[in-house]
């Protein structure tokens, strides 16, 4: 497996991030008697797997999710991304492997402990909203609090707070069918946040929405994450959405994770042709940082300076407006010059065919 599970540069630059979820050798194989394929230590009989009438939805997934990051699992339909997410919440029982959640082995907890974990530590948003049609907005958001046995007045107070947080105040007595798709998903988001979960799972939350609404909801999502700073596992089939929202992206194909990295990593070093297919149509200037394009300083005179962390796109106007052979200084957060960015390189990036030969 060609897996580049390097912690991303952004995260490692800060103090050592703590691991929230660690998935090790996670498998999910569908088919009768699939349990027989694995020995006690979780290793798989690959020959039997290929010979038999099995479907491997998740093959040997290994990755960590760090505290406070947005980790996106991207794959086309049938790639096993939703199954992988459901293994992480144990909505689907994995065939083999281990999933450490806050250093607790999720696959070993009892039914009662699992319910307790879900009640207090996990929140999940679903593709088709999954709202109960017989309950109002308030009733839906109250559900996770209600099943914990919280008193009515307290849970309504908390539910109203999250409803306000997602911008649905005034609609709490409406039924889901009276709301638009975007509003319904806001209810789904409010419900998943009602218990103040540690970790927030989102299963293609915006796929069922119109493109314009989707964009709006993505902004809303980023705004919420700015306030809440949750650890997020986010599933999508839309690479652009992944690039836009992710701290790190895992790309899945046929049940296997084929590459994990920051959006910039993926664009600069696609691990396989498959990944390359995806990045072809991505406007690179929006993903790449000035640092990724810079060269070493060689006695240049600088026409100005740019921040190493900002994307080319953010600095584009200034760079293009400079003289044809202008060179910009690339400065890190401390203000030291770490490289030089000639205008020509930026123009090349914008004009040269995106496909690597």
């Amino acid at each position: 497996m060609s897996q580049a599970a390097t912690p991303d540069s952004k995260a490692s630059a800060q103090s050592e991030p703590s691991i929230k979820i660690a998935c090790k050798n996670v498998w999910k194989v569908f088919g009768s008697n699939s349990a027989a394929l694995f020995d006690a230590d979780g290793s798989v009989d690959r020959q039997a797997l290929e010979r038999g009438n099995y479907i491997s939805a998740v093959c040997d997934a290994n990755f960590d999710v760090f505290e406070g990051e947005i980790f996106i699992i991207m794959g086309l339909s049938g790639s096993g991304k939703s199954t992988l997410l459901r293994c992480m919440t144990r909505l689907i029982e994995p065939s083999a492997g281990s999933i450490q959640f806050d250093s607790q082995d999720l696959l070993k907890v009892t039914e009662a402990e699992l319910i307790n974990l879900r009640r207090h530590k996990m929140g999940m948003v679903f593709q088709h909203f999954a709202l109960l049609p017989n309950r109002t907005v308030l009733g839906n958001v109250e559900l996770p609090l209600e099943v914990q046995g919280i008193a009515k007045a307290d849970r309504q107070k908390r539910a109203l707070e999250v409803i306000e947080l997602v911008g649905l105040d005034g609609r709490e007595e409406y039924y889901p069918r009276e709301l638009s798709g975007g509003q319904q998903q806001r209810v789904g988001i409010a419900r998943s946040l009602a218990v103040e979960p540690d970790i927030w799972f989102l299963d293609e939350p915006f796929s069922a929405l119109d493109p314009l609404i989707r964009r709006e909801m993505q902004d809303e999502f980023l705004r919420l994450q700015n306030v809440l700073q949750k650890t997020i596992v986010f599933i999508t089939h839309d690479f652009e959405e992944a690039i836009r929202l992710a701290d790190r992206i895992a790309i899945m194909k046929d049940g296997a994770i084929i590459q994990i990295g920051t959006p910039e990593d993926l664009v600069l070093n696609p691990a396989t042709d498959y990944v390359e297919e995806f990045i072809q149509d991505i406007p690179r200037a929006r993903v790449l940082s000035t640092a990724s394009l810079m060269r070493e300083v060689a006695g240049d005179t600088f026409a100005g300076s740019v921040q190493a962390k900002s994307t080319i796109d953010a600095e584009l106007k200034r760079i293009l407006n400079a003289d044809q052979d202008a060179v910009f200084a690339v400065k890190n957060e401390q203000g030291d010059i770490i490289g030089a960015l000639p205008r020509g390189l930026v123009v090349d990036l914008l004009t040269v065919s995106k496909r690597k030969q």
């Binding site: 319910i115 879900r118 999940m124 109960l132 099943v147 069918r177 009276e178």
Partner: protein, 668 residues
Amino acid sequence: MSSAALLEIIPLRLRSNPWISLWLAVFAGTIILMLAKEAVPLAFKYPSAWKLPLDVWISSFMKWLINDLDFGLFTFKEFTRAMAWLVEQPYLLVKSLLSTGFLKGTGSYAVQVFPRVSWVALIAGLMLLAHYIKDWKLSALVGACFLYLVVFGQWDSAMVTLSSIVIAVPIGIVGGLLMGIVGYRSPRFRVVLMPTLDLMQTVPVFAYLVPILLLFGFSAVSAMIATIIYALPPMVRVTLLALDQVSVEVVEAGSMAGCSPRQSMMKVLLPSARHSLMVGVNQVVMLSLNMVIIASMIGAGGLGHDVLSALRRLKIGEGIEAGVAITLLAIALDRLSQAYANRSEPLHAVGQQSIWARHPYSLTFAGIVGLTWFLGIYFPVLDTYPESWQITTGSFWDDLVRYININYFDVLEGFKNFLLLNIMIPFKRFLLALPWISVVAVVGLGGWQLGGKRLGLLTASLATFMAVVGLWAKAMVTLYLCGMAVIIACLIGIPIGILAARHDRFHGFVSVAIDTLQTLPSFVYLMPVVMLFRVGDFAAMLAVIAYAVTPIIRYTDHGIRQIAPHLIEASQQAGCTRNQVLTKVQLPLALPHIMLGINQTIMMALSMLVITALVGTRELGQEVYIALTKADTGRGIVAGVCVAFIAIIADRMINAWASRRKRELGLD
């Protein structure tokens, strides 16, 4: 082509399709058996010495249950009677409320302590309910139906019937719901549950009337228990289906919210499935009403008793009036429960409201009930509709029948004799002449080809069972009557269905007609055919056709209409005429669906056939009916199980074919 060339081709074809050679072998074997009839008598008549005395065993078991089983503190019989007592209490309460009023003392010394709900109040209440659920049209319909009961003097009987329905239906619903929930939760229980439901739905009711009679006595409670057993299976199935259909995501959302399994059922699954569950409620109501007449055989009074006794005395007019009363009761309750199932959901409430604004209907109803009770003391009209105001059409119906029979006897008789002599009797003789071994082989091979070895084994052994218990000839007569009825029903129903699918106005008309026909209790069909054709196979067959024709019409219509419109557009664009669209696109694609309709028709035909035993057919149904009159548990159950097996054979084979065909067409 020379004969040598032919010889070359046949083995090739045989090799490419082994089924042909197998079928040829069965066919040839049958011919040989028929030719050498004298040599192998046991292929034709299962030796009575080898007969399995299953009926005797069951009867002895039943005797042991009732007479000898003793748990120490109490006997089995005391246990069942105690259960009957338990069910009887709420029944008596409701009956007092609706029918007799609350009495003190017994017999003619009884003094009314508190009056029953007056007819004015009940009708007003139901009309309010209908208006609350849907609109004033439904309200008017329900009001008219119940007004008929009053005006035609059926009120007292109808209230007795309604009382038992009011008790049987909730028990059936709750019982079905619980069984369905357990089946949903436990795949193992489901494995046992499904074939049990199949048997419960295919064994004719008559077959289990006897054991119920023996265990619970001749009473309204026995009748209710039989009704519940009859009406429960669809509720179980609907519950299973409704729970299975709840979107996986919604269930997952419940789990992720931290629901325990119990919370998940009560707060997520059942509320999400509530619309589909209401379909089951409607089914339970309708089947309970369908049982009204049969249940009166073991002690249910009311309208069913009126119909049955009128039929026995050949008082056609009286029978029709009571039959219409049952039908109207059925229509009213059906429309009410359907409207409730399809009720539009409430919108968000606006602000705080007064009690009156929040409960306008219940408060009005309470007011009317109180007022009529009070006024009823001074104006008895409100309590009991005076007999002198009642009208009856009984003599009109009797006259009509007499008129038809006097003036059209020859025409009707000629028609009946022509069909009997030229088609029905030859078909019957043919089936009876076949060696049972061949029939078993055909059924087994058919099952094997359609659904694999396991199905073949199942169908063959079910068919063998009928020979082994010594009911082969009666089973063949059942097959003949059912087969004839189904073929004719298809000949009538499929064209009507096709027409309905192609013409929207006709579709509207047919839908209403079918809805009404399906609300009629099966017994009602017997009356007109007996009036016109008297007893016998022919009358029975007509009743079966009339009862069983509805599903084939519905499924044909629906099957054609559900075909994706782009396929029709594509074929029209390719230049097909309307008829070509029908024959080349619509019918082939709708065929699996139509076959399921035929399956339904077969099921309904079999259930009706047993009832037609009352008008003198000589098949398994008659065997069951005789057992009922002789209180012979074993005989009734064995014959009933045979009917069920015929149904199961047909059902499994047709379903195997239809699901394979659907898979091939990519319709699933």
